[in-house]
């Protein structure tokens, strides 16, 4: 039996009928065409599918779509504050060469956002712990840590205007 759910993604309201066995990852990628969120392992180890649900980073592959009823979701498509400017996290990833094949990037950036929202001045150790749920198969971890550290510095001086819900 399908369930009627209401939720927002990056500020847009949706009202959809979903089968209970579909994951949030499937809903975002297949129904809403938001393919910035990736699917890697499907078991909560790689973090490529990370999105924010009510401000908390979660694995969209382990989240049932039906369970986000009434919740607010943020994906990498909603990371940039406008259609023109990139988010400081995205800019820093480009500047430091933190993107290689790009498959882990969207998840890494969403976890970076979760981390910096809770801890605006993380140490290197705290950044690495914040990324503990991610794998980069290009193994470019150092640049990613460097990017997040740079983004943190920039964001402390110049808070980003968040997407309106």
């Amino acid at each position: 039996m399908k369930h009627q759910i209401h939720f927002t993604v990056n500020g847009d309201h949706y009202s959809l009928s979903v089968d209970p066995w579909r994951t949030l990852n499937e809903l975002l990628r297949e129904d809403l065409n938001l393919t910035g969120t990736k699917l890697g392992c499907g078991t909560g180890d790689c973090g490529a599918c990370t999105v924010l649900v009510d401000g908390k980073s979660v694995n969209s592959c382990l989240t049932l779509a039906v369970s986000v009823n009434g919740k607010s979701i943020r994906t990498v498509e909603g990371l940039a504050p406008s259609g023109e400017a990139l988010h400081p996290i995205q800019e820093a990833f480009i500047q430091t060469g933190a993107i290689q094949c790009g498959f882990c990037t969207a998840g890494m950036e969403m976890s970076a956002l979760h981390l910096l929202n809770h801890n605006p001045a993380p140490s290197e150790k705290e950044i690495r712990e914040g990324l503990s749920g991610h794998l980069c198969r290009c193994t470019g971890y150092n640049q990613i840590v460097e990017a997040i550290s740079g983004a943190a510095e920039k964001m402390r001086g110049n808070p980003v205007e968040e997407v309106k819900k």
Binding site: H3, W21, K56, S57, C61, N69, S111, G133
Partner: protein, 291 residues
């Protein structure tokens, strides 16, 4: 990789959840965070006919602490909520630490301490410390409520005393006595994000320089977390000294019943139990001193 088909319900009260669980029969499963259940379903290890999601039951998410009655952790409180809770961090730092050492950030935002215990992995990060602190599981069922000591809760890998139709509602931890401290120590191949190869939870009560009482539990070195009774007997009532801690490590290593698997060899696990026991006892002592 797709999930098998199932019915779904998201009750908002415990009564409704119990009624649904009875109605849907023995193939129904409750889901708290889903970080174990969804994976097991994806791998085809379980095929629930129905999933009853507990996340919408407000009372199951509550964490309370009172000096008189101790700590109560709602069954659907997430690992992140337990790890970050101010009262738990102050009064039960080992409990907060164990929750914060479980899996990774995203899994801690979804998964629950209750789920970690109910899935009954021998390596469950939250079990040894809570057992050492004398935690009790509050179980609700069609016949009403019952309480089971966490020490009696596990029956084997993936097996607990929960009967069909029962739901864990809360984990209750008594207020630790004065001059006591607890600690959790674990080791795993990849640092901290993967499942631990061996772990030790300890709670120690001091009387002056003596160990008045002690409880030690070993994780991932037996079919369930094991109580190190001989080690406890060795330490209890004695003057706290470096030689005693060293002997306790050796004794605990002897009490472990590890197997060799992909995470570690039995020999390695046994040696690590010795190391982790010593570390846990020293940390528990430090924490007791801080009170």
């Amino acid at each position: 990789m797709r999930l098998p088909h199932f019915d779904y319900a998201a009750p908002t009260t415990l009564e409704e959840a119990l009624r649904l669980l009875a109605e849907k029969g023995p193939d129904a499963r409750v889901l708290a965070g889903g970080t174990d259940l969804i994976i097991r379903m994806r791998h085809g290890l379980v095929k629930p006919s129905a999933i009853i999601h507990l996340g919408g039951i407000a009372v199951l998410r509550v964490i309370t602490y009172k000096l008189k009655t101790g700590l109560s952790i709602g069954a659907a409180a997430t690992l992140a909520e337990v790890a970050g809770h101010p009262d738990i961090r102050r009064r039960y730092p080992a409990v907060a630490y164990a929750a914060g050492e479980t899996a990774n950030v995203q899994v801690r935002n979804l998964g629950t301490v209750g789920g970690n215990l109910c899935n009954a992995a021998p390596s469950a990060d939250n079990a040894p410390t809570l057992m050492a602190l004398g935690a009790e599981m509050v179980l609700a069922g069609p016949q009403g409520e019952r309480r089971v000591a966490l020490e009696q809760f596990f029956k084997g890998p993936g097996q607990t005393v929960l009967t069909p139709g029962e739901i864990l509602t809360a984990i209750q931890v008594p207020t630790p006595p004065p001059h006591s401290g607890a600690a959790y120590q674990q080791v795993s191949a990849r640092g901290r994000v993967d499942i631990c190869a061996a772990s030790v939870g300890a709670a120690v009560v001091f009387e002056g320089e003596n160990c008045k009482d002690i409880r030690i539990f070993l994780g991932a070195v037996g079919p369930t977390p094991l109580r190190a009774l001989l080690t406890e007997d060795l330490v209890r009532g004695k003057a706290w000294a470096p030689e005693l801690i060293a002997q306790a490590g050796e004794k605990a290593a002897g009490e472990a019943r590890p197997i060799t698997d992909m995470r570690a060899s039995a020999d390695y696990r046994r040696q690590m139990v010795g190391v982790l026991t010593r570390r846990a006892l020293l940390e528990a002592q430090k924490r007791a001193g801080k009170r």
